[in-house]
Protein backbone atom coordinates (compact mmCIF):
# COMPACT_ATOMS: atom_id res chain seq x y z
CA UNK A 1 0.00 0.00 0.00
CA UNK A 2 1.31 3.36 -0.97
CA UNK A 3 0.29 6.90 -0.08
CA UNK A 4 0.38 8.99 -3.20
CA UNK A 5 0.50 12.79 -3.15
CA UNK A 6 -0.04 14.64 -6.42
CA UNK A 7 -0.04 18.37 -7.18
CA UNK A 8 -2.20 19.28 -10.17
CA UNK A 9 -3.56 22.38 -11.87
CA UNK A 10 -7.09 23.09 -10.57
CA UNK A 11 -8.87 22.63 -13.89
CA UNK A 12 -7.27 19.18 -14.29
CA UNK A 13 -8.97 17.75 -11.20
CA UNK A 14 -11.97 16.25 -13.04
CA UNK A 15 -9.78 14.39 -15.54
CA UNK A 16 -7.46 13.03 -12.87
CA UNK A 17 -10.31 11.98 -10.59
CA UNK A 18 -12.24 10.20 -13.37
CA UNK A 19 -9.15 8.36 -14.56
CA UNK A 20 -8.21 7.27 -11.04
CA UNK A 21 -11.75 5.98 -10.48
CA UNK A 22 -11.54 3.79 -13.53
CA UNK A 23 -8.23 2.49 -12.15
CA UNK A 24 -9.99 1.39 -9.00
CA UNK A 25 -9.07 4.17 -6.60
CA UNK A 26 -12.14 4.64 -4.41
CA UNK A 27 -11.28 7.58 -2.17
CA UNK A 28 -9.12 10.67 -2.07
CA UNK A 29 -8.57 13.93 -0.18
CA UNK A 30 -8.13 17.21 -2.02
CA UNK A 31 -6.83 20.47 -0.56
CA UNK A 32 -6.09 23.82 -2.11
CA UNK A 33 -2.45 24.77 -2.28
CA UNK A 34 -0.21 27.48 -3.72
CA UNK A 35 2.99 26.62 -5.47
CA UNK A 36 5.43 27.39 -8.20
CA UNK A 37 7.62 25.38 -10.45
CA UNK A 38 8.48 25.66 -14.09
CA UNK A 39 5.14 27.33 -14.74
CA UNK A 40 5.72 31.05 -14.21
CA UNK A 41 3.78 33.30 -11.82
CA UNK A 42 1.84 36.35 -12.88
CA UNK A 43 1.40 40.07 -12.24
CA UNK A 44 -1.62 41.65 -10.57
CA UNK A 45 -2.36 45.37 -10.72
CA UNK A 46 -4.35 47.18 -8.05
CA UNK A 47 -4.89 50.93 -8.36
CA UNK A 48 -1.87 51.32 -10.60
CA UNK A 49 0.49 49.37 -8.32
CA UNK A 50 1.95 46.17 -9.76
CA UNK A 51 2.34 43.07 -7.60
CA UNK A 52 4.31 40.02 -8.66
CA UNK A 53 2.52 36.82 -7.69
CA UNK A 54 4.92 33.85 -7.88
CA UNK A 55 2.59 31.33 -6.38
CA UNK A 56 -0.23 29.98 -8.48
CA UNK A 57 -3.25 28.00 -7.25
CA UNK A 58 -2.78 24.23 -7.21
CA UNK A 59 -4.68 21.24 -5.88
CA UNK A 60 -2.99 18.68 -3.68
CA UNK A 61 -4.42 15.18 -4.01
CA UNK A 62 -3.84 12.41 -1.52
CA UNK A 63 -4.97 8.86 -2.04
CA UNK A 64 -3.80 5.39 -1.20
CA UNK A 65 -3.16 2.73 -3.73
CA UNK A 66 -2.64 -1.01 -3.23
CA UNK A 67 -1.08 -1.60 -6.62
CA UNK A 68 2.15 -0.09 -7.68
CA UNK A 69 1.55 1.90 -10.81
Amino acid sequence: MKLIVAIVKPFKLDDVKDRLKTLGVNGMTVSEAQGFGRQRGHTEVYRGAEYEVDFVPKLRLKYSSTTAK
Binding site: T43, V45, Y46, R47, G48, A49, Y51
Partner: protein, 467 residues
Protein backbone atom coordinates in the same frame (compact mmCIF):
# COMPACT_ATOMS: atom_id res chain seq x y z
CA UNK B 1 -64.26 61.76 20.17
CA UNK B 2 -64.96 65.21 18.89
CA UNK B 3 -62.31 67.78 19.68
CA UNK B 4 -63.05 71.42 20.23
CA UNK B 5 -60.00 72.36 18.18
CA UNK B 6 -58.76 70.96 14.87
CA UNK B 7 -55.36 69.33 15.09
CA UNK B 8 -52.82 70.01 12.36
CA UNK B 9 -49.92 67.68 11.57
CA UNK B 10 -47.35 70.39 10.87
CA UNK B 11 -46.90 74.13 11.31
CA UNK B 12 -47.84 76.55 8.52
CA UNK B 13 -44.22 77.19 7.44
CA UNK B 14 -43.55 73.51 6.77
CA UNK B 15 -43.66 72.08 3.25
CA UNK B 16 -44.05 68.31 3.35
CA UNK B 17 -42.27 67.75 0.03
CA UNK B 18 -39.25 69.81 1.05
CA UNK B 19 -39.07 68.23 4.48
CA UNK B 20 -39.44 64.69 3.14
CA UNK B 21 -36.79 65.19 0.43
CA UNK B 22 -34.39 66.81 2.87
CA UNK B 23 -34.69 63.91 5.31
CA UNK B 24 -34.30 61.35 2.52
CA UNK B 25 -31.29 63.25 1.14
CA UNK B 26 -29.69 63.34 4.56
CA UNK B 27 -30.21 59.60 4.98
CA UNK B 28 -28.68 58.92 1.57
CA UNK B 29 -25.62 60.97 2.54
CA UNK B 30 -25.41 59.10 5.85
CA UNK B 31 -25.38 55.81 3.93
CA UNK B 32 -22.30 57.06 2.08
CA UNK B 33 -20.37 56.91 5.36
CA UNK B 34 -22.03 53.86 6.91
CA UNK B 35 -21.84 51.42 5.35
CA UNK B 36 -20.45 52.70 2.03
CA UNK B 37 -17.06 54.07 3.11
CA UNK B 38 -16.73 51.41 5.82
CA UNK B 39 -16.90 48.62 3.22
CA UNK B 40 -15.18 50.58 0.42
CA UNK B 41 -12.18 51.33 2.62
CA UNK B 42 -12.48 47.93 4.30
CA UNK B 43 -12.31 46.35 0.85
CA UNK B 44 -9.31 48.43 -0.21
CA UNK B 45 -7.13 47.79 2.84
CA UNK B 46 -5.31 44.54 3.58
CA UNK B 47 -7.33 41.80 5.25
CA UNK B 48 -5.62 42.42 8.61
CA UNK B 49 -6.84 46.06 8.71
CA UNK B 50 -10.53 45.61 7.83
CA UNK B 51 -11.96 45.68 11.36
CA UNK B 52 -9.80 48.62 12.46
CA UNK B 53 -10.79 50.64 9.41
CA UNK B 54 -14.51 49.91 9.78
CA UNK B 55 -14.55 50.76 13.48
CA UNK B 56 -12.79 54.06 12.80
CA UNK B 57 -15.52 54.89 10.27
CA UNK B 58 -18.40 54.04 12.60
CA UNK B 59 -16.85 55.76 15.63
CA UNK B 60 -16.09 58.94 13.62
CA UNK B 61 -19.73 59.05 12.50
CA UNK B 62 -20.87 58.78 16.13
CA UNK B 63 -18.32 61.27 17.50
CA UNK B 64 -19.23 63.88 14.91
CA UNK B 65 -22.92 63.70 15.80
CA UNK B 66 -22.24 64.23 19.50
CA UNK B 67 -19.94 67.19 18.72
CA UNK B 68 -22.60 68.50 16.32
CA UNK B 69 -25.31 68.38 19.00
CA UNK B 70 -23.08 69.98 21.65
CA UNK B 71 -21.57 72.89 19.69
CA UNK B 72 -20.62 71.97 16.11
CA UNK B 73 -23.87 72.74 14.33
CA UNK B 74 -24.20 76.20 15.82
CA UNK B 75 -20.54 76.99 15.15
CA UNK B 76 -20.97 76.16 11.48
CA UNK B 77 -24.55 77.20 10.78
CA UNK B 78 -25.78 78.99 13.89
CA UNK B 79 -27.68 82.17 13.32
CA UNK B 80 -27.06 84.92 14.11
CA UNK B 81 -23.30 84.58 13.88
CA UNK B 82 -20.82 85.76 16.42
CA UNK B 83 -19.54 89.26 15.74
CA UNK B 84 -15.82 88.80 16.06
CA UNK B 85 -15.17 91.94 14.00
CA UNK B 86 -16.84 94.74 12.01
CA UNK B 87 -19.68 93.76 9.64
CA UNK B 88 -18.40 92.66 6.25
CA UNK B 89 -14.91 91.89 7.53
CA UNK B 90 -13.35 88.44 7.51
CA UNK B 91 -13.92 88.14 11.25
CA UNK B 92 -17.59 89.17 11.25
CA UNK B 93 -19.05 85.79 10.37
CA UNK B 94 -16.07 83.56 11.05
CA UNK B 95 -18.09 81.14 13.14
CA UNK B 96 -21.45 81.03 14.84
CA UNK B 97 -21.69 81.18 18.63
CA UNK B 98 -21.17 77.61 19.89
CA UNK B 99 -24.14 76.23 21.82
CA UNK B 100 -26.11 73.01 21.96
CA UNK B 101 -29.12 71.70 20.07
CA UNK B 102 -30.61 70.21 23.23
CA UNK B 103 -33.69 72.35 23.85
CA UNK B 104 -37.01 71.63 22.14
CA UNK B 105 -36.87 74.72 19.94
CA UNK B 106 -33.53 73.65 18.54
CA UNK B 107 -35.23 70.66 16.98
CA UNK B 108 -38.79 71.82 16.26
CA UNK B 109 -38.52 75.46 15.29
CA UNK B 110 -38.32 76.49 11.64
CA UNK B 111 -34.73 76.15 10.43
CA UNK B 112 -32.92 79.43 10.08
CA UNK B 113 -29.32 79.80 9.03
CA UNK B 114 -26.77 82.10 7.55
CA UNK B 115 -26.51 79.45 4.85
CA UNK B 116 -29.71 80.58 3.23
CA UNK B 117 -31.44 83.79 4.08
CA UNK B 118 -32.91 84.17 0.57
CA UNK B 119 -36.04 82.10 1.08
CA UNK B 120 -37.24 80.79 4.46
CA UNK B 121 -36.59 77.09 4.96
CA UNK B 122 -39.71 74.95 4.83
CA UNK B 123 -38.50 72.41 7.37
CA UNK B 124 -37.48 72.40 11.04
CA UNK B 125 -33.98 72.83 12.46
CA UNK B 126 -33.82 69.11 13.27
CA UNK B 127 -33.96 68.37 9.54
CA UNK B 128 -31.33 70.96 8.68
CA UNK B 129 -29.02 70.00 11.54
CA UNK B 130 -29.18 66.31 10.61
CA UNK B 131 -28.63 67.07 6.92
CA UNK B 132 -25.58 69.19 7.74
CA UNK B 133 -24.31 66.60 10.23
CA UNK B 134 -23.97 63.82 7.66
CA UNK B 135 -21.77 66.12 5.55
CA UNK B 136 -19.60 66.97 8.54
CA UNK B 137 -19.30 63.28 9.45
CA UNK B 138 -18.18 62.08 6.04
CA UNK B 139 -15.25 64.54 5.90
CA UNK B 140 -12.98 62.99 8.56
CA UNK B 141 -14.11 59.56 7.34
CA UNK B 142 -12.83 60.49 3.87
CA UNK B 143 -9.42 61.63 5.10
CA UNK B 144 -9.16 58.52 7.23
CA UNK B 145 -8.30 56.84 3.91
CA UNK B 146 -4.86 58.43 4.00
CA UNK B 147 -4.16 57.32 7.58
CA UNK B 148 -5.31 53.70 7.74
CA UNK B 149 -2.92 50.90 8.61
CA UNK B 150 -0.85 52.62 11.34
CA UNK B 151 -2.92 55.33 13.08
CA UNK B 152 -3.39 54.72 16.80
CA UNK B 153 -7.06 54.09 17.53
CA UNK B 154 -7.18 56.41 20.56
CA UNK B 155 -5.55 59.19 18.54
CA UNK B 156 -8.37 58.95 15.99
CA UNK B 157 -10.95 59.42 18.77
CA UNK B 158 -9.33 62.77 19.55
CA UNK B 159 -8.54 63.88 16.01
CA UNK B 160 -12.19 63.68 14.89
CA UNK B 161 -13.77 66.08 17.44
CA UNK B 162 -10.86 68.54 17.19
CA UNK B 163 -10.92 68.55 13.39
CA UNK B 164 -14.72 68.96 13.21
CA UNK B 165 -14.53 71.87 15.65
CA UNK B 166 -11.50 73.79 14.41
CA UNK B 167 -11.42 72.95 10.71
CA UNK B 168 -14.78 71.78 9.42
CA UNK B 169 -17.00 74.19 11.35
CA UNK B 170 -14.84 77.17 10.33
CA UNK B 171 -14.66 76.24 6.64
CA UNK B 172 -18.40 75.51 6.57
CA UNK B 173 -19.26 78.83 8.23
CA UNK B 174 -17.02 80.78 5.85
CA UNK B 175 -18.39 79.23 2.66
CA UNK B 176 -21.88 78.12 3.62
CA UNK B 177 -22.85 79.71 6.90
CA UNK B 178 -22.91 83.22 5.47
CA UNK B 179 -19.27 83.93 6.32
CA UNK B 180 -16.59 85.89 4.46
CA UNK B 181 -16.20 83.80 1.30
CA UNK B 182 -19.96 83.35 0.96
CA UNK B 183 -20.35 87.14 1.07
CA UNK B 184 -17.52 87.65 -1.39
CA UNK B 185 -19.25 85.40 -3.92
CA UNK B 186 -17.29 82.14 -3.84
CA UNK B 187 -19.66 79.24 -4.19
CA UNK B 188 -19.55 75.56 -3.29
CA UNK B 189 -22.78 73.81 -4.25
CA UNK B 190 -22.42 70.90 -1.84
CA UNK B 191 -18.88 70.55 -0.61
CA UNK B 192 -16.23 70.28 -3.30
CA UNK B 193 -14.14 72.60 -1.13
CA UNK B 194 -15.48 72.33 2.42
CA UNK B 195 -15.56 68.54 2.25
CA UNK B 196 -13.43 67.08 -0.55
CA UNK B 197 -10.59 69.56 -1.00
CA UNK B 198 -10.33 69.84 2.79
CA UNK B 199 -10.34 66.03 3.16
CA UNK B 200 -7.64 65.69 0.50
CA UNK B 201 -5.41 68.27 2.21
CA UNK B 202 -6.01 66.79 5.68
CA UNK B 203 -5.25 63.30 4.40
CA UNK B 204 -1.95 64.41 2.90
CA UNK B 205 -0.81 66.56 5.82
CA UNK B 206 -1.97 63.97 8.34
CA UNK B 207 -0.20 61.13 6.52
CA UNK B 208 2.99 63.21 6.32
CA UNK B 209 3.03 63.77 10.10
CA UNK B 210 1.94 60.22 10.89
CA UNK B 211 4.63 58.60 8.74
CA UNK B 212 4.26 55.67 6.37
CA UNK B 213 2.78 52.22 6.93
CA UNK B 214 5.20 49.41 7.64
CA UNK B 215 7.42 48.68 4.63
CA UNK B 216 6.17 45.10 4.71
CA UNK B 217 2.56 46.31 4.53
CA UNK B 218 3.29 48.69 1.67
CA UNK B 219 4.90 45.96 -0.41
CA UNK B 220 1.89 43.68 0.15
CA UNK B 221 -0.89 46.28 0.09
CA UNK B 222 -3.36 44.32 -2.02
CA UNK B 223 -7.05 45.05 -1.43
CA UNK B 224 -8.93 42.56 0.73
CA UNK B 225 -12.16 42.33 -1.24
CA UNK B 226 -13.12 43.89 -4.58
CA UNK B 227 -16.78 42.89 -4.24
CA UNK B 228 -17.06 44.97 -1.06
CA UNK B 229 -15.46 47.85 -2.95
CA UNK B 230 -18.26 47.45 -5.52
CA UNK B 231 -20.93 47.58 -2.80
CA UNK B 232 -19.39 50.65 -1.19
CA UNK B 233 -18.80 52.43 -4.48
CA UNK B 234 -22.37 51.80 -5.66
CA UNK B 235 -23.89 53.19 -2.46
CA UNK B 236 -21.48 56.11 -2.69
CA UNK B 237 -22.58 56.95 -6.24
CA UNK B 238 -26.33 56.78 -5.61
CA UNK B 239 -25.98 58.29 -2.14
CA UNK B 240 -24.57 61.31 -3.93
CA UNK B 241 -28.11 61.95 -5.24
CA UNK B 242 -28.79 63.16 -1.70
CA UNK B 243 -25.39 64.83 -1.35
CA UNK B 244 -25.99 67.14 -4.31
CA UNK B 245 -29.75 66.80 -4.72
CA UNK B 246 -30.35 67.97 -1.15
CA UNK B 247 -28.35 71.14 -1.37
CA UNK B 248 -30.86 73.52 -2.92
CA UNK B 249 -32.86 72.82 0.32
CA UNK B 250 -36.11 72.71 -1.68
CA UNK B 251 -37.46 69.68 -3.56
CA UNK B 252 -37.64 71.69 -6.77
CA UNK B 253 -36.25 72.07 -10.27
CA UNK B 254 -32.64 72.60 -9.26
CA UNK B 255 -32.62 69.52 -7.00
CA UNK B 256 -33.58 67.50 -10.07
CA UNK B 257 -30.88 69.17 -12.21
CA UNK B 258 -28.28 68.53 -9.54
CA UNK B 259 -29.17 64.83 -9.34
CA UNK B 260 -29.02 64.33 -13.11
CA UNK B 261 -25.82 66.34 -13.52
CA UNK B 262 -24.18 64.40 -10.71
CA UNK B 263 -24.86 61.09 -12.43
CA UNK B 264 -23.79 62.41 -15.85
CA UNK B 265 -20.45 63.70 -14.55
CA UNK B 266 -19.89 60.45 -12.68
CA UNK B 267 -20.53 58.28 -15.73
CA UNK B 268 -18.15 60.49 -17.73
CA UNK B 269 -15.54 60.29 -14.96
CA UNK B 270 -15.75 56.50 -14.68
CA UNK B 271 -15.50 55.95 -18.44
CA UNK B 272 -12.68 58.48 -18.83
CA UNK B 273 -10.48 56.70 -16.26
CA UNK B 274 -11.29 53.31 -17.80
CA UNK B 275 -10.34 54.49 -21.29
CA UNK B 276 -7.19 56.19 -19.95
CA UNK B 277 -6.22 52.84 -18.41
CA UNK B 278 -6.93 51.02 -21.69
CA UNK B 279 -4.98 53.51 -23.78
CA UNK B 280 -2.15 54.82 -21.63
CA UNK B 281 -1.49 52.51 -18.66
CA UNK B 282 1.50 50.18 -18.79
CA UNK B 283 -0.71 47.11 -19.11
CA UNK B 284 -3.26 48.75 -21.47
CA UNK B 285 -6.05 46.97 -19.60
CA UNK B 286 -9.27 48.28 -18.06
CA UNK B 287 -9.27 47.84 -14.27
CA UNK B 288 -12.23 47.84 -11.91
CA UNK B 289 -10.47 49.82 -9.20
CA UNK B 290 -9.35 52.34 -11.82
CA UNK B 291 -12.94 52.78 -12.98
CA UNK B 292 -14.00 53.31 -9.35
CA UNK B 293 -11.32 56.00 -8.96
CA UNK B 294 -12.76 57.70 -12.05
CA UNK B 295 -16.26 57.39 -10.64
CA UNK B 296 -15.16 59.13 -7.44
CA UNK B 297 -13.42 61.88 -9.46
CA UNK B 298 -16.67 62.56 -11.31
CA UNK B 299 -18.71 62.62 -8.11
CA UNK B 300 -16.28 64.88 -6.27
CA UNK B 301 -15.72 67.29 -9.16
CA UNK B 302 -19.41 67.85 -9.90
CA UNK B 303 -20.10 68.53 -6.21
CA UNK B 304 -19.18 72.25 -6.25
CA UNK B 305 -21.23 72.91 -9.38
CA UNK B 306 -23.99 70.27 -9.51
CA UNK B 307 -27.00 72.57 -9.89
CA UNK B 308 -25.18 75.42 -11.66
CA UNK B 309 -23.84 73.72 -14.78
CA UNK B 310 -25.90 72.42 -17.67
CA UNK B 311 -25.73 68.87 -19.03
CA UNK B 312 -22.77 69.63 -21.31
CA UNK B 313 -20.99 71.24 -18.38
CA UNK B 314 -21.58 68.10 -16.31
CA UNK B 315 -20.01 65.85 -18.98
CA UNK B 316 -17.00 68.18 -19.21
CA UNK B 317 -16.57 68.31 -15.43
CA UNK B 318 -16.41 64.50 -15.22
CA UNK B 319 -14.12 64.20 -18.21
CA UNK B 320 -11.67 66.95 -17.22
CA UNK B 321 -11.47 66.01 -13.53
CA UNK B 322 -10.97 62.32 -14.23
CA UNK B 323 -8.22 63.09 -16.78
CA UNK B 324 -6.38 65.46 -14.44
CA UNK B 325 -6.58 63.08 -11.49
CA UNK B 326 -5.49 60.11 -13.65
CA UNK B 327 -2.40 62.08 -14.66
CA UNK B 328 -1.78 63.17 -11.06
CA UNK B 329 -2.25 59.60 -9.80
CA UNK B 330 0.10 58.18 -12.42
CA UNK B 331 2.79 60.86 -12.76
CA UNK B 332 2.56 63.61 -10.11
CA UNK B 333 2.55 60.90 -7.44
CA UNK B 334 6.18 60.17 -8.40
CA UNK B 335 7.28 63.74 -7.66
CA UNK B 336 8.11 65.34 -4.33
CA UNK B 337 6.39 65.92 -1.99
CA UNK B 338 3.80 63.38 -3.13
CA UNK B 339 6.30 60.54 -3.50
CA UNK B 340 7.44 61.04 0.08
CA UNK B 341 4.04 60.80 1.79
CA UNK B 342 2.16 57.53 2.27
CA UNK B 343 -1.43 58.66 1.64
CA UNK B 344 -2.58 55.05 1.94
CA UNK B 345 -5.71 55.12 -0.22
CA UNK B 346 -4.79 58.19 -2.31
CA UNK B 347 -7.36 60.61 -0.86
CA UNK B 348 -5.29 63.63 -1.91
CA UNK B 349 -5.81 62.65 -5.55
CA UNK B 350 -9.43 61.49 -5.78
CA UNK B 351 -10.71 64.10 -3.31
CA UNK B 352 -8.07 66.85 -3.17
CA UNK B 353 -7.20 67.22 -6.85
CA UNK B 354 -10.74 66.38 -7.97
CA UNK B 355 -12.34 68.82 -5.50
CA UNK B 356 -9.97 71.61 -6.53
CA UNK B 357 -10.57 70.97 -10.24
CA UNK B 358 -14.34 70.92 -9.74
CA UNK B 359 -14.31 74.08 -7.64
CA UNK B 360 -12.30 76.01 -10.22
CA UNK B 361 -14.46 74.68 -13.08
CA UNK B 362 -17.45 76.47 -11.52
CA UNK B 363 -15.70 79.67 -12.59
CA UNK B 364 -15.56 78.44 -16.18
CA UNK B 365 -18.60 76.25 -16.78
CA UNK B 366 -21.43 77.56 -14.54
CA UNK B 367 -24.39 78.50 -16.73
CA UNK B 368 -26.32 81.55 -15.44
CA UNK B 369 -29.47 80.17 -17.08
CA UNK B 370 -29.39 77.22 -14.69
CA UNK B 371 -31.62 78.73 -12.01
CA UNK B 372 -31.28 77.68 -8.39
CA UNK B 373 -33.93 80.00 -6.98
CA UNK B 374 -36.28 81.69 -9.46
CA UNK B 375 -38.74 84.48 -9.87
CA UNK B 376 -42.45 83.62 -10.10
CA UNK B 377 -43.84 82.20 -13.33
CA UNK B 378 -43.66 78.98 -15.30
CA UNK B 379 -40.09 79.49 -16.52
CA UNK B 380 -39.09 81.46 -13.48
CA UNK B 381 -36.03 82.98 -15.06
CA UNK B 382 -35.65 86.73 -15.03
CA UNK B 383 -33.90 89.53 -13.23
CA UNK B 384 -33.19 88.61 -9.63
CA UNK B 385 -33.15 84.84 -10.15
CA UNK B 386 -30.24 83.14 -8.38
CA UNK B 387 -27.66 81.41 -10.56
CA UNK B 388 -23.90 81.42 -11.15
CA UNK B 389 -22.04 82.51 -14.30
CA UNK B 390 -18.70 81.06 -15.39
CA UNK B 391 -16.23 82.37 -18.00
CA UNK B 392 -17.82 80.60 -20.97
CA UNK B 393 -21.30 81.98 -20.29
CA UNK B 394 -20.87 85.42 -18.75
CA UNK B 395 -19.01 87.37 -21.42
CA UNK B 396 -15.60 85.90 -20.58
CA UNK B 397 -15.39 87.44 -17.14
CA UNK B 398 -12.85 85.89 -14.77
CA UNK B 399 -14.71 87.22 -11.72
CA UNK B 400 -16.21 83.92 -10.56
CA UNK B 401 -13.01 81.99 -11.31
CA UNK B 402 -11.02 84.42 -9.17
CA UNK B 403 -13.46 84.05 -6.26
CA UNK B 404 -13.22 80.27 -6.59
CA UNK B 405 -9.43 80.48 -6.61
CA UNK B 406 -9.32 82.61 -3.46
CA UNK B 407 -11.65 80.26 -1.59
CA UNK B 408 -9.53 77.25 -2.68
CA UNK B 409 -6.37 78.98 -1.47
CA UNK B 410 -8.03 79.56 1.90
CA UNK B 411 -9.22 75.95 2.23
CA UNK B 412 -5.80 74.54 1.32
CA UNK B 413 -3.79 76.83 3.62
CA UNK B 414 -6.12 76.89 6.61
CA UNK B 415 -6.92 73.17 6.50
CA UNK B 416 -3.25 72.29 6.03
CA UNK B 417 -2.01 74.42 8.92
CA UNK B 418 -4.81 73.54 11.35
CA UNK B 419 -4.61 69.82 10.55
CA UNK B 420 -0.88 69.93 11.29
CA UNK B 421 -1.48 71.72 14.60
CA UNK B 422 -4.20 69.24 15.59
CA UNK B 423 -2.04 66.22 14.71
CA UNK B 424 0.90 67.56 16.74
CA UNK B 425 -1.36 68.27 19.73
CA UNK B 426 -2.84 64.76 19.55
CA UNK B 427 0.64 63.29 19.14
CA UNK B 428 1.69 65.04 22.35
CA UNK B 429 -1.44 64.19 24.35
CA UNK B 430 -1.62 60.55 23.23
CA UNK B 431 2.17 60.03 23.34
CA UNK B 432 2.42 59.22 19.67
CA UNK B 433 0.08 58.90 16.71
CA UNK B 434 1.11 55.40 15.66
CA UNK B 435 0.43 51.95 17.01
CA UNK B 436 3.64 50.14 17.98
CA UNK B 437 5.42 48.23 15.21
CA UNK B 438 4.68 44.84 16.77
CA UNK B 439 1.00 45.80 16.83
CA UNK B 440 1.16 46.96 13.20
CA UNK B 441 2.57 43.60 12.17
CA UNK B 442 -0.56 41.87 13.47
CA UNK B 443 -3.26 44.46 12.77
CA UNK B 444 -6.89 43.90 13.78
CA UNK B 445 -6.26 41.02 16.19
CA UNK B 446 -3.71 43.00 18.20
CA UNK B 447 -5.87 46.13 18.45
CA UNK B 448 -9.40 44.77 18.71
CA UNK B 449 -9.19 41.01 19.44
CA UNK B 450 -11.34 40.60 16.34
CA UNK B 451 -10.65 39.61 12.76
CA UNK B 452 -12.73 40.21 9.65
CA UNK B 453 -13.21 36.53 8.79
CA UNK B 454 -13.03 34.43 11.98
CA UNK B 455 -12.62 30.67 11.52
CA UNK B 456 -15.19 28.80 13.60
CA UNK B 457 -13.30 25.51 13.53
CA UNK B 458 -10.35 26.87 15.44
CA UNK B 459 -12.31 29.02 17.91
CA UNK B 460 -13.33 27.40 21.20
CA UNK B 461 -15.33 29.26 23.84
CA UNK B 462 -13.32 29.85 27.03
CA UNK B 463 -15.76 31.49 29.45
CA UNK B 464 -19.14 29.99 30.38
CA UNK B 465 -21.80 30.04 27.67
CA UNK B 466 -24.02 32.52 29.45
CA UNK B 467 -22.95 36.09 28.73
Amino acid sequence: MLLATTLIPYPSWLNTGDNAWQLVSATLVGLMSIPALAVLYGGLVQKKWIVNTMLMVFSAFSLTLIVWMLWGYNMAFGFPQAHWGPTGSFWAGLIGIPHTLFLHGAEQNQAISGANTLIPFHFPTATFAYFQFVFAAITPILFLGGLVGRLKFKAWLLIVPLWITFVYAVNAALLWGGGFFAQKGAVDYSGGYVIHLAAGVASFVGAAILGPRLARDRTHAVPSNLMMVAVGAGILWLGWNGFNGGDPFYAGVDAASAVLNTNVATAAGLLTWMFMDMLFSKQKKPTFLGAINGMICGLVAITPSAGWVNGLGAVLVGLIASTIVWIAWTYISRLRPFSKVDDALGVVYTHGFAGLTGGLLVGLLADPKMIEYGIKGAHYTGAGAISVGGWFYNGHSWHQFWEQFLAAAWIICYTGIMTAIIFYIVKFVMRGLREKDEVLEVGDLAIHDEEAFPVETFAERVNSLGR
